[in-house]
Amino acid sequence: MNLNAELRSTITTRFMPGRAASLTDDADLFLLMDSLDVIRLVTHLEKTYRVEVDDSEMIADNLSSVTRIAAFLERKRASA
């Protein structure tokens, strides 16, 4: 499973139950998820992918879609 598919699966089962069909790679997660779920998602990313997300990195460019999260994780891994 590639990273995008893995992230989509995690987000739909954990944070968007009942709305799986509405999630595409470029869908705006900030419109689809609670802000508390965004915080939980970041905590989940930190634990699962072993990255540190600074407060200043919690921005739309990094987190607002599956594509952006995947790119953000790749950048974090590359810089680690």
Partner: protein, 426 residues
Amino acid sequence: MMFGAHQVLRRMGYPGFVNQIVVELAGRIDVTPLRRAIDRLCHRYPVLAARIVPDGLIRWAYWSFRPGEVVDLHEADLDAPGRDPVMAYAQQILAIPFDLSRENPASFHLLHSPDGRDTLILHFEHAVMDSNALDSLILELDSLIRCDDHADPPPAPEPDDIRNYLKRFPFRTRLSAIFRTRTDPPPWRNGPAVTLVSRTLLLGPRPYRIAFREVPASTLAAVNARITKACGYPNLSMGLLASIFRAILEHVAEPPHRFGRLITHIGFNLRPPDEGDTTSVRNIATVMPIDASIDEAADRDGLLKTLSRRLRDRLKRQVDLGLLQLVYWHSRRIWFVRFPLKTLFMKRQSLNYGCFNSIIAPGATFAGVPIEAAYHVASTSSPPGLSLLANRFQGRLLFTAVYVPDAVPPSRMEAFLDRLISDFTA
């Protein structure tokens, strides 16, 4: 566990841990298919018409199922149009204690307004489910109304079992939750809570009141832009909590202690990791404490950042399994579970439970009629005498504050809500 919470509140003189979802419709709905759909819903979820039988020393209680029984659908004609008569009805039934050993833990109420609108209220005891389960339940009821009379209803989800539920989480996660239960100091140890509620503990049945406020979609979009600018992303929940804390501080019941803290518990939807799209009539929320000092509340956007950081820190340190922690207590002896529950309800907190719901699932229509508004209402358990819920529905923010006027005078509640809205939207 929630039955334990119900019992603790009942002994304090409150009707228990009672919740509602209110669905305001733009027109009339046909009662016959609604009644039939409710019957089918009860066959799928027999817990809706079950009884809770108090047990002896080892267990709190157990469910007693009654196959074939269904919950009631009450109809009432309102005297006047608008939301006020709906709120009057809602607060009246909210104040009637649930006797869970003798009556169903849930009931439906269909209110007919003279202007041709209907309002559906699902009134239920928290022991059955929490607000996170409600949206999908209303959606399922809608699908049962719309489905063909002669068609077989879709299969009911498998009955939930708490042990299986817990097993879905990794062993280390469960172990960590238990460890944190025993080691994490609650925020009220840092200082007395600043609250709107008068210090005198009120006992005995009291009338409830519901105050309502609405932030329109255009204003909420501007608030989201402001919060995104301050925080980097639209952290609406913490932006809201920051304004709630600041409004509490302005309309506090008594001058706060210099070490006073603004304290609440944040509710999280804790659906198990591998669960798909199934509806769940059960409690799937967890709570996590969060607090701020009086000094930190001076700057609104600074407080927003502080609360966001603090919540992230807690989530990092303390696995997000608050419910499991309470279940851990529950799995021990009865006197063990009493302690955290009594602490939760009797210790003074600014708000016992910060519940920020997004009501998304009900969608645009119910039984073919457009939904004008949908929101949750909760009994006054937060702290005893006050509950405040914020519901996001179709881009709007709907506040429902349920309070006991003897604990929070109406003038203070109205001033608090006005201040909250002005601070939040400024």
